[in-house]
Symmetry: C2
Subunit: 325 residues, 2 copies
């Protein structure tokens, strides 16, 4: 569906008649995934109590302060639902092993803002110009005639703040600011939210900054910055993977850098995060390696060694930078 009003009406109709409703977002969830899940959960509860908020993965520590976070239960693949509301999933695989939720539900609705979404649900509302899924959920909740309580507003604002990096990214517009203002005006504790999101960096995350400086290399006149944090590096300062959250921004934000890549160890593969600043579409680059995401923030997993990865990346990036000269 391309009309937000029709989509919202249809969703409300299905919510009102469903005997069981599930809300779920992607694995390795971020602030927008969890934020949109909890916002929608709060809204649906006001229409129909037969709703379960699901998680497809563990909740990152930095999001555990969100209201109603303990209501999220791990999806059991045997569960069947009348209605599934799927949030922030760029494709079916982003549900990980939990994609059975689609065939386990009579009707499915998808709300998302990623590029090239294959529209895998029965009803899909995808707007890749939206800053965040939370911004879309904000509109849909209002169109369904549900008012925002403080808790819903708190989760919704969390998704907007984290997916825009506090209104920094291009998809963040004046209307994003207006929505944030409206959410704050519900009376939510903005300062508590800000302290939890931005002023609770772990000491280990701070210590990682030193290793990040030591490991970052610059190529192609400083247009490409490449960094790798190994499990050994993490162990050196007692850090976990959560402590690497958004470290990639520190290298993208260096003057002259157009493409920033930060690689992390993940069991038997490498997690490769990509960011660009102005003119390179890194989601295209990620797709060449089987990944995806947004134009300026994307990622993929890589099965071979860091040396092979670097070699592969250097080739592709040389071509991209030459194309954009």
């Amino acid at each position: 569906m391309t009309n937000l009003n029709d989509f919202s009406n249809k969703l409300k109709e299905e919510i009102l008649k469903a005997k069981s409703i599930a809300i779920i977002s992607h694995y390795l969830p971020d602030g927008d995934a969890i934020g949109s899940t909890l916002t929608m959960y709060g809204a649906v509860r006001k229409l129909n109590n037969a709703v379960t908020a699901l998680r497809s993965d563990t909740i990152p520590t930095f999001l555990k302060f969100l209201p109603l976070i303990d209501d999220l239960i791990l999806y059991d693949e045997k569960s069947k639902f009348d209605l599934a509301i799927i949030l922030d999933c760029g494709d079916e695989d982003r549900l990980g092993s939990k994609k059975s939720i689609i065939k386990n539900s009579k009707t499915s609705f998808l709300i998302d803002h990623h590029n090239n979404n294959p529209l895998f649900a029965n009803y899909n509302y995808v707007d890749n110009k939206a800053s965040s899924t939370c911004e879309l959920v904000f509109d849909i909740v209002k169109l369904m005639g549900v008012s925002f309580c403080k808790d819903m507003a708190f989760s919704c604002l969390t998704g907007i703040l984290t997916d825009t990096n506090r209104f920094m990214y291009e998809n963040s517009s004046s209307s994003t600011l207006l929505k944030a203002a409206e959410l704050i005006d519900t009376g939510l504790d903005k300062d508590y939210l800000i302290r939890n999101l931005y002023q609770k960096t772990s000491k280990q995350s701070f210590l990682i900054n030193k290793i990040l400086v030591e490991n970052t290399e610059f190529f192609f006149d400083g247009k490409f910055a490449f960094s790798y944090i190994s499990n050994e590096d993490l162990n050196k300062v007692g850090a976990t993977r959560d402590d690497l959250d958004d470290k990639i921004s520190l290298i993208r934000d260096i003057e002259g850098v157009e493409i920033a890549i930060l690689v992390e160890d993940r069991f038997d593969e490498l997690k490769v995060g990509l960011r660009s600043k102005e003119y390179v579409n890194v989601s295209e680059l990620a797709r060449r390696f089987g990944g995806g995401g947004h134009n300026k923030a994307s990622g993929f997993y890589y099965k071979s060694s860091i040396i092979d990865l670097k070699k592969d990346l250097m080739k592709e990036i040389e071509i991209i930078l030459n194309e954009n000269k």
Copy 2:
């Protein structure tokens, strides 16, 4: 004057009749000082061409991208003006050696948002609840009936963004977001602004992160974080003082830290920056050392050694933290 409407009317009246107008802000200017100067300059020019935008100091590199920045001329103490508009100065001394502008002007207006402002101009509008002087200038410009062009909006948004650390600080409210949205809707190039403010970290500033980690010490169960970057440290990575801009946030934002202090060498004295997170008023602490500022962001200069400073600070901070237990 405590009524913003009366103040704006009076200011407009004086602008319209003045034969010469000066606009000036504080020394060691930041984004709000320069942003408010350029915004007011743009507005006054629409009412009266006999206006000069002054600077009391050099312009930091990171602000040189602002429109009309080259119009700012260094104040010559022999100059006399009918009207001086003084922006973002918590007290007269913040004009540095340029405070003669007050006696060199027939009438002076002050617009500011710092605590304990002694109201040193003929007409003063000070609101310490405002996020920034730019937010006050936004209101005053509108009350004077002057519309925002893109350039004015660009400078005004710069002041709001820098003084709120992108809507992070407590003084940033939903009305701050509404003003920012209105400024963006003038059609200014938000992404260019964001890239210049947040994505042009110098490589040296990035390298300083390593030294910051090495030099940061934690006291009182991690509630107090203390760091010192010497001139030698700067030289090690070829950095300048500009590269230390906002590094103090990196230590304030560590979990558990309530008071963060970052000390820098400044010729024959030490520049001491103070930040707090939740319950400590660091402007009181700064005042004990002859400085000032905001409740959660303040500073002072110290004439003795770093060892003496640390000793003095430890004593005061132990008392403050005990009081707030």
